[in-house]
Symmetry: C2
Subunit: 140 residues, 2 copies
DNA sequence: CTGGCTGCAAATCTTTTGCATCCTG
DNA sequence: CAGGATGCAAAAGATTTGCAGCCAG
């Protein structure tokens, strides 16, 4: 834990055991977990953890730019600890989300921007993963 | 109304007054309204309209591919009657959504797809719109 | 020791569901 | 006139809030 503490010291937020547990779960996590998934995992080793704390912590982490909030799953937020530029490939059947680590530099013509200052882009690729395609052979 | 009825006949769904009112509101609408916005607008001329009906109708329209559900606003679905390929430019301050009518053909290398069948992509550009940038001159 | 954080419960918001009634086709 | 659609209320799911007590700095 000492290492985590050192790593997150620069955030200038109190490093409570709950926060460290959530940070440890998110560290390197590529599953794009929802609040429910974070709660389910972390509360195993931390039974007193409450949903409100998970919400508080992830909102704090989003504010401090330690994790990104992603709006891929309709009606539910997911979180991604990978802050470097990347995109997502989503299976329209099982909603599994994979990372695509390619940097596409997409241009928008000045006149289409209508005064907008463009800061970046998120690309959501969608398709059908191999597992779902194989379960599908009966109806294409 | 006769014209709308003719136009939507091919959907083979019952064209109730509620459905026609919602379809009329969505027709050509570029504001990417949420259910609440649809309800607020349509219930003015249709006071008996209930939220459940708006949900029923938009879900039916999504199933029949008359409108697209978009997950840009975290925790809330928005709907877009423009079914042709296009992308969105979102203001991170006021959440206004503009359409970008450009077709980007983005390639993913075979080995990154891991067996995925790629069907398409949605690009969310983000930035700051001119209105919000001007309100901002005091801080940056 | 103090302000920020946790945990609990209640409140709020979004969406879905059950069911009696209605009305389009 | 039958089956699907509406309207209402209740339920379910996601998130926020208020507040007393706790604990990291």
């Amino acid at each position: 834990m000492r290492q985590d503490i050192k790593k997150y010291k620069k955030l200038n937020i109190k490093l409570t055991p709950q926060r460290l547990a959530i940070l440890a779960y998110l560290e390197g996590n590529r599953t794009h977990p929802s609040v429910e998934e974070i709660y389910r995992h972390v509360s195993k080793r931390f039974p007193s953890m409450s949903y409100a704390t998970v919400y508080n912590v992830v909102n704090t982490l989003v504010k401090h730019k330690v994790v990104k909030e992603i709006s891929i799953d309709p009606g539910k937020k997911r979180f991604d600890p990978d802050m470097h530029t990347h995109h997502h490939l989503v299976c329209i059947r099982c909603r599994k989300i994979m990372d695509i680590d390619i940097d596409y530099s997409l241009h928008i013509p000045e006149q289409a921007l209508e005064g907008f200052t463009l800061l970046g882009n998120n690309i959501e690729f969608y398709g059908i993963c191999s597992v779902c395609r194989n379960n599908d052979t009966h109806q294409i």
